[in-house]
């Protein structure tokens, strides 16, 4: 097990800009996260949340700025399996003919040989990961036959099997059942204790208050960033959502 220096930054994004064929999706965004921190990424649809994730994973190139993952380039973070991405349920072709086991095994691909033949250790990692998300009874179930919550847990298991130290989760709580929500929140606490760093996007304000030490409010650029208790104010939220009050967006209970 690696020794974790809690003072070093896991993620350092400095003034990053991303544009798609001249259309700016994100500009001058900054983020610094340390081990064991959970940060919520909040913004409207099209505010650049997914783009931010894509920049951190290297799925899109940044046009300006700098990203350091554990002090190194995104490229070497990919090689080292440092970052795991847990997609939204909508971002996945649920009809793809593939089982829970196969999806979780994909978490090991990056550290296998070119033929992707699972070694004993890979099989064990996959077994353990599936056990942690409580899907042992569904090893060979096609993902198309899973509920939304089970599918979410499958992809969480993939991230666990990957043994990544940074987890990026796109809407982890959307469309999941109570049981899955409880399991995910327990896992978050375990991840935090293991020194993993978590960045999650969410629409649910309650979850931000409940889980996130830090919050990053974005609307094409950073609107506000800091400790949840300080930054997550109705004023900032309203600014983030283009002047619409949070009550209107999320109901008065939030």
């Amino acid at each position: 097990m690696e020794t974790i220096n809690y003072q070093n930054f896991r993620i350092e994004a400095e003034n990053i800009c991303v544009d798609y064929n001249g259309k700016v999706a994100l500009y001058d965004a900054n983020l610094r996260l340390k081990p064991g921190q959970i940060c919520g990424l909040v913004g409207m649809n099209g505010a650049g949340k997914t783009t931010f994730f894509n920049a951190l994973t290297g799925f899109v190139n940044i046009s300006k700025g700098k990203i350091r993952i554990n002090g190194e380039s995104v490229r070497s973070a990919q090689k080292d399996q440092t970052i795991a991405y847990v997609p939204q349920n909508e971002g996945i072709d649920s009809q793809f003919p593939i089982s829970v086991w196969d999806v979780v095994m994909m978490g090991r691909y990056g550290s296998m040989n070119i033929f992707r033949c699972p070694r004993e250790s890979d099989v064990q990692a996959v077994k353990d990961a599936i056990e942690r998300v409580d899907l042992t009874n569904h090893l060979s179930t096609p993902i198309g036959n899973l509920s939304g919550g089970q599918r979410k847990r499958t992809f969480l298991a993939r991230a666990i099997a990957q043994r990544a130290s940074i987890l990026l989760l796109d809407e982890p709580f959307s469309g999941v059942d109570i049981r899955t929500e409880k399991l995910i929140s327990e896992l978050f606490i375990q991840f935090k204790n293991e020194g993993k760093t978590i960045l999650l996007s969410t629409h649910d304000m309650i979850h931000v208050r409940e889980f996130c030490d830090l919050v990053l409010l974005i609307n094409k650029t950073v609107v506000a960033y800091g400790e949840t208790s300080e930054v997550f104010t109705p004023e900032n939220i309203t600014t983030t959502f283009g002047g619409i009050s949070p009550d209107f967006l999320f109901g008065p209970e939030s």
Partner: protein, 290 residues
């Protein structure tokens, strides 16, 4: 179109085998079908049916130019196949025209160029055999080339089959764990161009896209496991080829068309009676009678 009433099943199968050109056609078409069927799983899951159509049509001028210059026609086809995709990407990026429109106009443009070239370049290219295939008249050099390309594609797909599956399923994850997505994209395109080249000998340029999507679509209706899907896809492609060639032999029908029709019928059968995903869901029907 006379069918002998005394024809037995045995002679239905064995009679054509006495002809050298039929043995060659059956072997070559099965090989081609296997290659296209293998690739077909990936194309249907990736949603590249239209891309398959585009690439297979776009290889036309490449084949003609290569023939005229005395180069291996696979080389010309490959250059134009990949070139068409690059051009589609470029035009899409630099204009406001929607992607399906761009695909449609690029491949028809290439295809038209091919037809014009055939009429202009003095050579012994038989337009009919390019357009509709000529599995019965395949030459020895074509046989060698087909075997070589087929083996190449099968080896490439076999080595990278897991990565390609991941690429089709979740390219973002592939990228995140350091797998070269760019390479996989072009690998799939390369295999597509090469498969189109060998496929066009069997069924011709116009119908080769069927070889590249129908077996995969059939298999997709029959299984929830990727490996099974590949196997079913390959088998259904080979069986269709054999049926198509036999039927065309006995009933004197166009061979390429017969092969593709056989594939279509197998698909329709799966569409209607697939255990889980068919219209009539055979499994449920049987369960009802128990």
């Amino acid at each position: 179109m006379e069918i002998c009433s005394f024809l037995t099943f045995d002679s239905f199968i064995t009679d054509p085998l006495t002809h050298d050109f039929m043995r060659k056609a059956l072997l070559m078409s099965s090989l081609v079908a296997a290659v296209c069927g293998f690739l077909s799983s990936y194309l249907t899951l990736k949603g590249w049916a239209l891309m398959g159509d585009a690439v297979s049509h776009s290889v036309m001028p490449g084949v003609v130019v290569a023939y005229a210059l005395g180069l291996p026609f696979s080389l010309g086809a490959f250059i134009f196949g990949v070139g068409s995709v690059a051009l589609i990407g470029f035009i899409k990026q630099k204009s406001r025209v929607k992607e399906d429109t761009v695909i449609g106009l690029v491949f028809t443009g290439f295809f038209a160029l091919g037809i014009v070239l055939v009429s202009k370049i003095k050579s012994n290219i038989d337009l009919h055999s390019i357009l509709f295939g000529s599995p019965l008249g395949i030459s020895l050099s074509d046989v060698k080339q087909t075997i070589f390309i087929s083996l190449l594609v099968v080896i490439l797909l076999s080595i990278f089959r897991r990565d390609l599956m991941l690429y089709c399923f979740d390219p973002r994850h592939a990228k995140t764990v350091g797998i070269n997505v760019f390479f996989l994209h072009y690998l799939l395109l390369t295999c597509l161009s090469l498969a189109a080249v060998v496929g066009l000998q069997s069924v011709g340029i116009i119908l080769v896209v069927a070889m590249l999507i129908t077996p995969g679509a059939t298999a997709y209706l029959l299984t929830d496991k990727f490996d099974n899907m590949t196997v079913i896809s390959v088998l259904s492609a080979i069986i269709s080829s054999l049926i198509g060639i036999y039927v065309s032999f006995w009933f004197d029908l166009e061979t390429g068309g017969s092969i593709v029709l056989a594939q279509t019928f197998i698909f329709l059968f799966a569409f209607l009676f697939a255990p889980r995903y068919g219209i009539f869901k055979l499994k449920k029907l049987f369960a009802g009678y128990k």
